[in-house]
Symmetry: C2
Subunit: 168 residues, 2 copies
Amino acid sequence: MNIPVEPSQNPPLEHDHKKCVSEALDTAEQLCVVRGVQLTPIRHQVLELIWASHKAVKAYELLDRIKPQMDAAKPATIYRALDFLIEQGLIHRVESLNAFVGCNCSAHQHEQLLLICNNCQDVEERSAPKVMQALALEIKQADFIVHSKAIEIQGVCAKCTKTISDQS
Amino acid sequence: MNIPVEPSQNPPLEHDHKKCVSEALDTAEQLCVVRGVQLTPIRHQVLELIWASHKAVKAYELLDRIKPQMDAAKPATIYRALDFLIEQGLIHRVESLNAFVGCNCSAHQHEQLLLICNNCQDVEERSAPKVMQALALEIKQADFIVHSKAIEIQGVCAKCTKTISDQS
DNA sequence: ATGATGAGTGTTATAATATAACACTCACTT
DNA sequence: AAGTGAGTGTTATATTATAACACTCATCAT
Ligand SMILES: [Zn+2]
Ligand SMILES: [Zn+2]
Ligand SMILES: [Zn+2]
Ligand SMILES: [Zn+2]
């Protein structure tokens, strides 16, 4: 039996992040057009701020960062934009951090494995098909109907492990 | 190849909950003695309150519930007890709910799959060895060092599905 | 054109969750 | 007797998130 190989969705250790951003924003714009939903200026701006890095970002950090450009911004401004972006699968909420991170697979199916680095705060998203398959089976055996999944691993990423071991 | 079968850790649909509670408290007391840590009256009481059901409980709900017996209780009282109980593996923090639930496998390894019912709020803990195995492999492939795992599935449990379909 | 509707936003207030900081007790050690 | 560390009491505050209501503007049916 052939399990289809998924394209790797891990950002390489060193990478052209401008490309990450422009791809994410392009994809978001296209998806919103196709779906007939509005990626308004506020929503676009919040998405862009989230994509400033691969780190998970807090809502109030976003609020602080958007204020220079939007003096009137209030918590509701941010939370509404976040709600929209999550609904559209353009970002993930990182439950174990109360924070948010851009989704690099927004065009495809969702609910991925998140590897969260406690050292550099980067979040790596992996589709982990074997895990998802085993999980689906386990859930079926429990007669459980799924609404949403959060699979979050905290620890130290490969890049940080390397950096730390280089120092010593 | 034989994968050892783990004892089922799912509370049966109808069950003797007093037994759940007394087993949990007995185990906790024994573990704390063995480990040389103190299950003080406050900690014991909080653990007991959490075990009042299989539902995830909020910290401030615990605070309200402990006040009749402990008028002086403050947020810190609860959060300190929760920190201790989590450290000792006697409860789990449910990240996606900011809530807490008793652990029914505190004597064994940790970080299990949590099935969280959005209808009745019950949390079922499953060891899901196949999932954990696939997950370990995936994490190894990513060169990631694990500190902690949160695997949380929200949806509707078997019991609620049955109840709802019986009504219609 | 008029009024109804719905999505998005502005604004104020407040709820819910969590931690910091410092003082005090008490058991145990030196 | 002084020193130490764990646990707790207490006050204050930080952080995260939502409720509620008003306003705008585009769309649509009458
Ligand atoms: Zn990037
Ligand atoms: Zn890292
Ligand atoms: Zn029970
Ligand atoms: Zn249920």
